[in-house]
């Protein structure tokens, strides 16, 4: 029976190729949308994940960084430093605004760094100095890729001009582009003095970040302290609502289309063999055998389609990265697994419709003209 199933599957190679190509295209759509979603979801918290902090301290009542306003008097850093279990404290000033670079506007998060900063600055440099000096700005390399900006060129934050002293890697995303300047420069932009936005706290060896966060909150008044993992989780959930949720919605819609098209393709492929299957039934094949044959074919088509789609995606993702550097695409194993399982399940269900029709049919109909 398996031999017959295989022969039946490849009886019309062109049709089979078309079915696989169509299903693969539908799955490719889902894979690419998932890749956009996964890429952006990872990138939006890149700064928090890469900053060297065990505990984040911020204004009381604030529990995330994205779109939040947090101001603390800078003397509170001394109070935090005095808490038992704290190894070091580093403060940053933070502002989200629109900047002008290379004739384009970019929504950015500006991080103001102390000159002694060790763990709050860029974690990967593409070119230039890793720490900004007075009047300097370190901007994402994507800016250079998109606008041809070079080291020494000027970017504007409100009406202040900054000279690009470095291009950082891995700091660009739709919802969280990070720019580094010195703290005094950002204070100047914000017309503020003696305040900080967040403190990055390192714990002594053996001290749990969760416990240290609780200790800071009980020792220092009107601050919120969160272990890094909780802070990252809070920000991720916040950013997911802002834009990334849109991508998720679009991915769902694209995925639904893919499911529909996979179903259509498999249905067409199996329905094409209806007469052939009816003949097999007339010649003695049981309904069970026919059903197994049909489901085997549907599984084969969908599995091959997933593999073709994955192969195409692996070719297209680097190409897209090069052509559209602003968008980070990330193919994840879980997404492929999800698409494959869903694809096979949908294909099986779609194949059962014509199969059931054959099972109910009188074998004699196979010999009707």
């Amino acid at each position: 029976m398996w031999r017959w199933t295989f022969k039946s599957l490849v009886a019309s190679p062109l049709t089979l190729a078309m079915s696989i190509a169509a299903a693969a295209c539908a799955m490719l759509l889902a894979i690419l949308f998932e890749a956009i979603y996964a890429g952006e979801a990872k990138q939006v918290v890149a700064y928090l994940e890469n900053a060297d902090a065990d505990v984040w301290v911020m204004q009381g009542g604030v529990s995330n960084m994205h779109m939040a306003t947090s101001y603390l008097s800078d003397w509170k850093a001394h109070e935090v430093r005095d808490v038992d279990g704290v190894a070091s404290v580093e403060s940053i000033l933070y502002l989200n605004t629109v900047i002008d670079a290379g004739g384009k506007k970019w929504f950015s998060f500006i991080v103001g760094l102390d000159s002694s900063s060790k763990g709050a600055g860029p974690w990967s440099m593409a070119e230039g100095k890793p720490m900004p000096g007075p009047g300097d700005a370190i901007v994402p390399r994507v800016f250079a890729d998109m606008t041809g900006l070079q080291l020494g060129d000027i970017v504007a934050i409100t009406d202040r001009k900054f000279r690009i002293s470095g291009f950082s890697a891995d700091t660009f995303s739709m919802g969280n582009t990070v720019i580094f300047v010195t703290k005094p420069d950002l204070e100047d932009v914000m017309s503020s003095l003696d305040i900080v936005s967040f403190m990055l706290v390192k714990a002594n060896p053996g001290v749990s970040p969760d416990m240290l966060a609780r200790r800071i909150e009980s020792n220092v008044t009107k601050v919120s302290a969160l272990p890094s993992h909780a802070f990252v989780a809070n920000d991720r959930s916040m950013v997911m609502q802002m834009g990334v949720e849109t991508i998720a919605l679009m991915t769902t819609i694209g995925g639904s289309l893919a499911i529909l098209l996979v179903a259509f393709t498999v249905y067409s492929q199996i329905a094409r063999q209806q007469r052939e299957l009816a003949v097999a039934k007339a010649l003695g094949a049981t309904n069970r055998m026919l059903l197994m044959s049909v489901t085997a074919q549907a599984t084969a088509i969908s599995v091959i389609s997933v593999l073709v789609a994955l192969l195409l995606a692996l070719v297209l993702v680097p190409l897209t990265d090069a052509l559209v550097p602003q968008v980070t695409l990330r193919i994840t194993g879980s997404a492929i697994e999800r698409i494959a399982v869903l694809g096979v399940a949908v294909a099986l269900v779609a194949s059962l419709v014509p199969a059931r029709r054959i099972a109910r049919a009188d074998p004699v109909t196979a010999f009707h003209s």
């Binding site: 995330n64 779109m67 601050v223 289309l257 094409r272």
Partner: protein, 376 residues
């Protein structure tokens, strides 16, 4: 020919319906994706235009209203109002806050206004009349199950919801509207500090002109007389915000739309190819009966176009239904799924893809041997 095409479509109704549905789904997805993007841009424009100013003054060097920090000196209001042609300058401040309730957090863009720039359309309740009143967008109300009269607590400061606004959201964030007196209280009650000037107190001035004044002329006069500000016609500022939206969201949305178009085109072609390929035997019969290759090829293309013509409105209706569903379940988003431009673009693309997809198998028809019709 038309009669022939109709008969062909009716011959295998299930296949025709499936093909049309698949094409309609492709059209719907493209329209919804385009609609999302168009909706996001429209929200950015409305955020500016709904403030209903003749001119808008920002901090010098700042050319956007949403998602930007603009701080104007307190005295700039008087300076602007002193310019000839200006009837009034209504202060407006924009700050980002995070609203949290039972573990659910939502970023809110809070507009603080005095005599102008408040909520444009109210769905329920009333505008601000009492101290600590706040008006919030319906998306925020729905998400957190808030109603007029409910408390709205931000950083331990309690507002009371006096009204629910419609269409007051942009840049993935709902808007809230509050008064200046409450902003000052809010600042004083939060734990900062010593220096209230750290907070933004005045972000924009909504300039109202005297009747008969020429907006560009007055704008130039304000910029000349008050160097701390830049002045924009609302349309111009809306253009800037839309352009920011395009720069920010455009690459991702554009990429998704392009992917949908390209894959939609390939799929449409393949669907049509498969439809024709599955009927080679019928074409053999028709050729044996004397139908010419040219007639059959034309009929295939006509059939493809006919399917596309049915699929396009069906896809548009499906897109409108999806858009309605999204807007009802997540009113933060506006999905302009049936914008004439996008509809026309998608329709033409669908027709072209279907026709091209049908042309592919024309070669198949040419090569069909009429004898296949008589094979068992």
């Amino acid at each position: 020919m038309i009669r022939f095409v109709c008969r062909q479509l009716r011959f295998d109704v299930v296949r025709s319906v499936l093909t049309t549905t698949a094409l309609a789904a492709v059209v719907a997805v493209i329209l919804v994706l385009e609609g999302f993007y168009a909706g996001l841009l429209q929200q950015l424009r409305s955020a500016v235009l709904d403030r209903q100013a003749d001119l808008i003054a920002t901090q010098a060097g700042v050319a956007n209203m949403i998602a930007t920090r603009s701080i104007l000196p307190q005295f700039s209001r008087d300076s602007v109002e002193a310019i000839d042609g200006v009837a009034a300058a209504h202060p407006l401040t924009g700050i980002s806050i995070i609203y949290e309730q039972q573990g659910k957090r939502t970023p809110v863009f809070l507009f603080i206004y005095d005599t102008g720039g408040g909520p444009d359309r109210l769905l329920a309740g009333s505008a601000i009349t009492h101290p600590r009143d706040i008006v919030i967008d319906q998306s925020l109300a729905i998400k957190h199950d808030l109603r007029t009269g409910d408390a709205f607590v931000v950083s331990n400061f309690e507002f009371r919801i006096s009204g629910i606004a419609e269409g007051a959201a942009a840049f993935f964030a709902p808007f809230g509207f509050a008064r200046y007196d409450d902003l000052i209280d809010f600042y004083f009650e939060s734990d900062i500090a010593a220096d209230i000037s750290t907070f933004p107190l005045l972000s924009f001035l909504l300039v109202e002109l005297k009747p008969g004044s020429d907006p560009p002329t007055v704008a130039a006069a304000i910029e000349a007389g008050v160097p701390e500000v830049d002045v924009f016609l609302p349309e111009r500022l809306a253009d800037q915000d839309e352009s920011l939206g395009r720069a920010l969201i455009g690459p991702i949305m554009g990429l998704m739309v392009i992917i949908a178009y390209v894959i939609g085109a390939i799929l449409t072609g393949m669907i049509m190819f498969a439809t024709v390929n599955a009927r080679r035997r019928e074409f053999g019969t028709l050729k044996a009966l004397g139908f010419s290759n040219r007639f059959l090829a034309s009929s295939v293309v006509a059939e493809a176009v006919a399917i596309a013509v049915i699929a396009i409105p069906l896809g548009a209706v499906l897109a409108a239904v999806i858009a309605e569903f999204v807007e009802r379940t997540a009113p933060l988003y506006v999905v302009l799924a049936t914008q004439p431009g996008a509809l026309l673009r998608t329709s033409l693309a669908c027709l072209a893809f279907a026709a091209i997809g049908a042309l592919g198998p024309v070669g198949l028809i040419r090569n069909v041997d009429p004898v296949v019709a008589f094979r068992s």
